[in-house]
């Protein structure tokens, strides 16, 4: 349980770049430590994205719940937001004002964040090529969210329905 808290504290500190980057880090930490299989984690991510609220928080809550029940869910959720909350309290509204060092730090963070998202893509890419249907869904999801302003939720729900229908009719 303590290790769960420490891992999520660490994830929270580097949680730059929004939800999906954080989900990528969570995956690397949890699957990398063999606390959960890749398939189990995939199912959990699917649940996290169809539940209201930030996807990263949902994923953290679910991992904690799966590993240590209700208490684990509370611990992982609070641990993952501890660093953000502390930092938000500490720095005022002054930090991101367009100072020269602020701009430099922003650029450096962008460099690191693109690195993190690359890791996330790499981590989830094998799932996309596991079947022809999954390849098609992943390509559609990419095209729609890269080139249109359609809410990704519709792609997620649509793909879920396609997945359910395929399973129901083809077994």
């Amino acid at each position: 349980m303590l290790r769960l808290a420490l891992v999520f504290l660490k994830i929270g500190v580097a949680a730059y770049g929004g939800g999906w980057t954080i989900v990528g880090i969570i995956r690397t930490e949890i699957v990398g430590r063999a606390w959960m299989s890749a398939e189990e984690f995939a199912k959990l991510v699917a649940m996290a994205q169809i539940t209201p609220g930030p996807v990263a928080l949902n994923a953290a809550t679910l991992v904690g719940y799966r590993l240590h029940g209700l208490l684990g869910a509370a611990v992982s959720t609070l641990a993952v937001v501890a660093a953000p909350v502390a930092l938000s309290l500490l720095i005022g509204g002054f930090f991101a004002k367009a100072t020269k060092s602020g701009a430099r730090l922003t650029e450096a963070l962008k460099t690191g964040t693109i690195g993190l998202i690359a890791m996330t893509v790499w981590a989830f890419a094998p799932a996309a090529v596991s079947s022809g249907l999954n390849v098609a869904i992943a390509l559609t999801a990419f095209a729609v969210s890269a080139f249109t302003r359609i809410n990704p939720l519709w792609i997620i729900l649509g793909s879920g329905v396609i997945g359910a229908a395929t399973r129901a009719f083809l077994g």
Partner: protein, 186 residues
């Protein structure tokens, strides 16, 4: 009454809590969906004008953590100080927490049904595409210099290979590239 007082009465803890609780409970899809919703709702209430919101949003991005949560906390503090900060934190956090536990319990009961399995498999299949699109957009929107290009490629390779060392590697990359940017500027 003098003309420096804000035009709207400062909202209290519970009205801010209720405000963010409502948004968090009905908005599915993470930060990039929630942030615009929060912005419009704040403006509609007269709590925060749009330009100030985007200043806060920029600050929220310089702190680690879920974007929607950070933005809400900064907005809550801007509107009502520390109570607003706490109200936003709890308001964003509680609905998904409760929803997740309910869903987990529900899936414990019906999770083995083939249709449910198929739905989850399908919903997960979008993740590689969504994350790739996110990377694509970040790469497209950035102002590139040769230095940044080299550093970013190195960063992507290093962090991907780092496994559970990804977090320390991330900070090493940020430190090195902050240093390199300074050298480049001088």
């Amino acid at each position: 009454m003098n003309d420096t007082s804000p035009p709207v009465k400062r909202p209290g803890f519970f009205s801010i809590f209720g405000f963010f609780f409502g948004i968090s409970a009905i908005t599915i899809g993470g930060g990039y969906v929630m942030v615009p919703v929060i912005q419009r709702a704040l403006e509609k209430r007269g709590w925060l004008p749009e330009d100030e919101f985007y200043d806060l949003f920029a600050t929220a991005q310089s702190v680690p953590g879920p974007l929607a949560l950070n933005t809400a906390m900064f907005a809550g503090r801007r509107v009502a100080g520390l109570p607003g900060f706490l109200a936003a934190f709890l308001g964003i956090l509680l609905p998904p927490f409760a929803a997740i536990l309910l869903l987990a319990a529900l899936l414990g009961a019906i999770g083995d049904w083939p249709v449910v399995q198929g739905f989850l498999d399908g919903a997960f299949a979008v993740v590689p595409g969504l994350t790739a699109a996110l990377a694509f957009n970040m790469i497209r929107k950035r102002r590139w210099t040769p230095l940044r290009a080299v550093m970013t490629v190195a960063s992507a390779v290093a962090i991907t290979l780092a496994g559970t060392w990804a977090v320390p590697t991330f900070f090493a990359v940020v430190a090195v590239s902050a240093f390199a940017e300074r050298k480049g500027a001088c």
